[in-house]
Symmetry: C2
DNA sequence: TGACAAGGTATACGATCGTTCACTATACTA
DNA sequence: TAGTATAGTGAACGATCGTATACCTTGTCA
């Protein structure tokens, strides 16, 4: 009941990719008057659930558009099974730094399996980023894409798989880096 | 130049979590008249970059709010290094099915490392989902959280780690399932 | 019992919304 | 060179926006 307004707002936001107008909220909440909505919204703003632009428009608060991190699991020391609210983040904010330069690739081989990148995963690549030693990159080798560790000692560059069954690559001439892997996501059906 | 309007819209959308009004777009695009904006928007709607609600409001098209999947990497057979556009998805849509019941936990141990879940990863949990045989779950054991495979043979339930260094768990009495792991995300700095 | 706060309705308000029409300037084409 | 799209300006339009005011219930508490 207390969460009801909040929940309805959340559902609307994710269904429509925008915040509802006051009239729409009246319908959502079951009010006949926009004034009732106005009072509810004021309370929600105070609670931080929604915010107002500098232009006065309604935008979702962090807890509406993000997901809560509620603790840590799997620590070798027994982590207290208490749900503290550590942070609220958006998957996009967390994984993507440069929207225009980022895209994704399906992963089908097991050449990076020792790095925890499995077949069926999706990797996020950022184009135009210069790789650092130890980064995972997708490079174009012999007209095909390969995902490897990018290692650089002095001027020597090599591409190292995270699976001993695959060979290293010492690029002879130019090396076309398609992108630097900035994230991995995996979905369990 | 051709992408300019699109890019500016994308930046605005991600910065403000809403679409700009026509007046704001006039400012964004450098127009003095809203009519110029109107013509541009009509074109963008035809191109599918933005859409209009049934209420006439502007919402981002798939390519604005989502990320493109541009192929497959790491196939054992050489996958052609051509960027086809396979799909456009949102990380939220891809990973989250039930917004209200989903939350995240940091991963700190290596007990699931053979399943490709590493320390530093973030797992997405869905609360209230009944686990199937083979699912990864977070359960409450001795006042601490553990992440394990959930295996069920007949009526026998056991929790199996994906790391031989850790023991199995055969819950004696009741087993408190905090949530079923529905996704994993990892960020490379 | 009376006072008062909380929560809702109804209505009116100026501001802004997106659309439209008439017009101008530029550039391309026959 | 004349003709015609293309792209933009400027002003006006009704509709909807979010806000504000006045009023009407309730339930609570002294």
């Amino acid at each position: 009941m207390k969460d009801s307004h909040r929940t309805k707002l959340s559902r609307f936001y994710w269904a429509h990719n925008r915040m509802p107008s006051f009239s729409e909220m009246a319908g959502l909440f079951g009010f006949a008057s926009k004034n009732a909505v106005s009072k509810v919204v004021n309370r929600l703003v105070e609670e931080g659930i929604v915010q107002k632009d500098k232009t006065g428009r309604l935008i979702p608060g962090a807890s509406l558009k993000g997901l809560a991190i509620r603790g840590t699991v799997g620590a070798s020391f027994p982590s207290p099974a208490e749900e503290e609210l550590v942070d609220v983040i958006t998957l996009d904010e967390y994984l993507i730094h440069n929207h225009e330069a980022t895209f994704m690739l399906n992963v089908s081989g097991d050449s990076m399996i020792d790095a925890g990148i499995h077949p069926g995963d999706i990797v996020l690549l950022e184009r135009g980023k210069t790789p650092k030693h130890g980064d995972i990159v997708v490079a174009q080798v012999d007209h095909a894409w390969t995902m490897k560790y990018y290692e650089k000692k002095g001027k020597q560059v090599r591409l190292v798989p995270a699976n001993k069954a695959y060979p290293m690559i010492f690029p002879k001439e130019e090396l076309t880096i398609t992108g630097v892997v900035v994230g991995v996501v995996r979905r369990y059906v």
